[in-house]
Symmetry: C2
Subunit: 412 residues, 2 copies
C-alpha cells in the first residue's frame, strides 16, 4: 500500500433515510482526522455538486453541529437522482468530474446511496482507473429498501422498519376501538422488494399488528386478498392489512396502477395511492368501514424512532469506507456481515466489489414468505429484530428535534 | 358533604387519543384506592357497555398492566360514537342505564370524552338527578381537537400536536433533498377547529416547518392559496403546506368535498383525502413535483411521541374527577387552568358545569391567525409550546412498545 495524500469528496445520492447523515458523519469525522486526507468536501446534491463545482468545506463546520448529523434525517448535503451515461457513449460528465477532482486534488471519493448510486460510483471508479487518475473510490450503502446485493442488510432499513412496526402497533390499538369494526390498510414503501412491508409483521409478532402482509416478491391475487380480508373481518370484527406499494398482478402490472376491470371493481383510483385504491375495493366488497393509510415520507425520515443499532452501523459504514480507502482499498462498497457471537447479533463490515453491487437487487427469499403470500415466516422476524434494537438519546430543544445546522461554506 | 359508598363506572367515548388511557389510569388507580368506592368497572365501548351490561372488573387486573395504560394509546376499554336521545322524547336508554347502575350499585360515573361525550355525560347526570338516584357524575375531558369549551386545553391535544410538529420537522428535511424542488402538502385532523393544524407552525418556529398553514377558522380561497404556493415555490424552490382537513369555502363547503368547477380545476378527488386533492390542483397549476401526506390515525395514536406534560395532566384529570366526586362534587367536567408561576407554565384543574361544556366548541381565536389566513401568530406558539414538553420513559420490549394487556374480566 502506498500512502495517497489528497482531498476527499462525499456525496449523498438517491432517496434519503433517517440515518443517512450518520454515515456522512462517519465519513466526515474519520476523514477530518486522517492525516492522508487534506480537505473534506461535501458535494451538494450528490454527483451534481461535483459536476457543478458546488462543494462544501466540511472543515469549516462546527464539530458539535457535525455530530448532530448522527440524529438528523435526510441527506443534509442534498441528494440527486442522476443517471450517469455509459462513459463509452458519452464521457462529458466524467471529464467534468475529473476536472473537479484535479482542481481540488481529490484523491478519495465516497458515495453514499443505493442501487443506482452504486452504479454511479462504479462507473466513476472505472473511469478514473482508465484515465490513470489515482483516486480511491468507495461506496457507502444506504437504502430503506434494503435491497443492495451482497450485504446482510443496509443502513437506513432498520430505522424505517422500526418506524413501520411501531406505527402499526399504535394504529392497531386505534383501529379497533369501536364495536362497529374496521378494515385498515397500511401502504408501505418498497417498489420491488418487500423488506419494509415485511417489517410490519414485527408488530404482529408482538401482539398488535396486521393480519395480512403482502410483499412484491409474490404475485398479488385480488380475489384471494378480498376473500382473506372478508374472512378475518367476519371472524374478528376487524382486519388490518400491510401492503407494499409494489404489489403487482402476475403480468407485472402494479396494483396501484391497474385500470378498471369488470371483475375486480377497479377504476376508482385517480388520486391517492395504493392504500386508497384497495380501501375502495374492500369497502365495495365488504361494506366495512375502511381506512387506507399511506406511511409516505414519514417512514423514511422518522429519525425520532431510529434504531440505535442502525445509527451506529451507519456511522461504522462511513468510517470503514474512509479507513479502508486510506489503507489502499478502492473500487469497493462497504457491506455488512452478520455474525452470531454467544447467541448475540454482531455486525461486521465487509468489502464488496462495486461491479457486483451496482444494479443488482436483493429480494426477500420466497421461503421467508408464507405459501399463500399473505404473511412472512419466522426467519424474517429473526432477521429484522436484532436490527431495530436500541433507543438513541435524541438531541432536543424544547422537546422538539434539534437537527444539525450546517453553514455549507463553498470550497474555493 | 355526605359520604356516598358504591361502585364506579368509567367509560371512554369518541375518537381516541394517545393519552386517553392515562386518564383512565388516573380514574382507575384513584378509585381503587378510595374507601368510598366499592368496585371499579370499565364499560366496554363507552356508554354502550352500560347499556349492554358489559362491564369489566378493573380490580381483577394486574396493577403493573394498569400502570402501562399511561403509555398505551387509544381507548383500552373500547370506545363508541353513540348519540343519546333527548330523555324527554325517548328515555329507553336512560332507564336501561339506571337499571345497570342499580344492579351494580353504581354511585359514581366517570365519562371520558370530547364534545359529544360530554353531552352524553350531561344528559345522564340530569336524568339521574330527575330520577332521584344518587349518583355523582363527572366528565373527564379528552380530545386531540382541543375544542372543549371552558378549559385552557384538553388532554390528548398536546401529544398529537407534538407528533405533528415533529413529523413536519422530519418531512421538511426530506422534502428538500433534491435540487428539483417539491411542494409538500400535509393534511392534519381537525374538522371544525384548527388547533392541530396550527401546531404544525411549531416546526416552523424551530426552523423546519411549513411555509403555509391553513386552519378552518378562516374561509379558504383557492386562488390565494395557489398564488401563495407558487410564489414561495418560485422563491425557494420548495414549499411546504399544512392544512386542516376542515378547510372550507366561504359557503361552508369543505374543500375536500368540493366538486368539479371550471375555474379551479377541481373534480379529481374520488379517492384519497384533502392532501391528495390539493396536490393534484397544485401540480396542475405549478407543474411542480407535489406530494400529499395525510397524517391520518398516526397523529392521534402516536404514543411514542407523547408529551410527558400531556400524560401527567391526563392522569391528573382522571384523578381529580374521582377525588372531587368522592368529596361530594357532581355534574361537572374537570378542566384545566393555566397559571404562570415565576415565568413557568403551571396547570391546575378546575371544575366546569357539564351543561356549559356539552356541545360548545372552542375555536382558535381569529387574532392568533395571521390576517391573510395562511399562518398563525406568536401567541399560538406561546400557547402550545409548554404543553408538548417532556419525554416520557416509554416501556419497551425488544425496542417495540409494550402496551397494557388487560384481562377484561366481566363483572357479575
Amino acid at each position: 500500500m502506498s500512502e495517497l495524500k489528497g482531498a476527499c469528496i462525499l456525496g449523498q445520492s438517491g432517496g434519503p433515510t433517517s440515518v443517512i447523515n450518520a454515515s456522512a458523519y462517519g465519513v466526515i469525522a474519520t476523514a477530518l482526522n486522517s492525516p492522508a486526507i487534506t480537505a473534506v468536501y461535501g458535494a451538494e446534491h450528490g454527483i451534481k455538486g461535483v459536476l457543478n463545482d458546488r462543494l462544501f468545506d466540511m472543515g469549516k463546520e462546527a464539530p458539535a453541529e457535525l455530530e448532530l448529523l448522527k440524529y438528523t434525517p435526510s441527506s443534509a448535503l442534498g441528494s440527486c437522482r442522476y443517471k450517469m451515461a455509459d462513459p463509452d457513449m458519452d464521457d462529458t460528465d466524467y471529464k467534468r468530474i475529473l476536472e473537479t477532482f484535479k482542481k481540488y486534488d481529490v484523491r478519495y471519493f465516497f458515495y453514499n446511496g443505493g442501487n443506482d448510486s452504486m452504479d454511479t460510483c462504479n462507473k466513476i471508479s472505472k473511469y478514473m482507473q482508465k484515465a490513470g487518475y489515482e483516486c480511491r473510490v468507495m461506496g457507502v450503502p444506504k437504502t430503506i429498501d434494503n435491497d443492495l446485493y451482497g450485504t446482510d442488510h443496509c443502513p437506513g432499513y432498520a430505522s424505517a422498519a422500526k418506524y413501520i412496526a411501531t406505527s402499526c402497533m399504535e394504529v392497531y390499538q386505534d383501529a379497533r376501538v369501536y364495536d362497529t369494526g374496521m378494515v385498515c390498510i397500511i401502504e408501505i414503501m418498497g417498489r420491488h422488494a418487500g423488506w419494509l412491508a415485511g417489517a410490519a409483521a414485527l408488530a404482529t409478532a408482538y401482539g398488535a399488528g396486521p393480519d395480512l402482509v403482502y410483499l412484491p416478491e409474490t404475485d398479488f391475487n385480488m380475489e384471494e386478498f378480498l376473500a382473506d380480508v372478508e374472512r378475518i373481518y367476519k371472524e374478528k370484527g376487524n382486519c388490518m392489512v400491510a401492503v407494499s406499494e409494489g404489489i403487482h398482478y402476475p403480468d407485472g402490472t402494479f396494483v396501484s396502477e391497474a385500470k378498471a376491470s369488470a371483475t375486480d371493481g377497479f377504476g376508482h383510483a385517480q388520486l391517492g395511492g395504493l392504500a386508497a385504491t384497495l380501501a375502495a375495493v374492500v369497502k365495495e366488497k365488504t361494506g366495512a368501514k375502511v381506512r387506507g393509510i399511506e406511511l409516505s415520507l414519514l417512514q423514511r425520515c422518522g429519525a425520532h424512532l431510529a434504531s440505535e443499532t442502525d445509527i451506529e452501523e451507519s456511522f461504522m459504514a462511513g468510517k470503514a469506507a474512509v479507513e479502508n480507502a486510506v489503507n489502499g482499498i478502492t473500487d469497493k462498497m462497504v457491506g455488512f456481515e452478520r455474525i452470531e457471537r454467544d447467541g448475540h447479533y454482531v455486525c461486521k463490515t465487509a468489502l464488496l466489489n462495486l461491479t457486483d453491487v451496482a444494479n443488482t437487487e436483493k429480494k426477500v427469499p420466497r421461503e421467508w414468505i408464507n405459501p399463500r403470500g399473505n404473511g412472512v415466516e419466522q426467519p424474517f422476524i429473526d432477521y429484522v429484530l436484532p436490527l431495530i434494537q436500541g433507543e438513541p438519546k435524541l438531541p432536543k430543544e424544547d422537546s422538539l428535534p434539534r437537527f444539525a445546522k450546517l453553514k455549507k461554506v463553498l470550497a474555493k
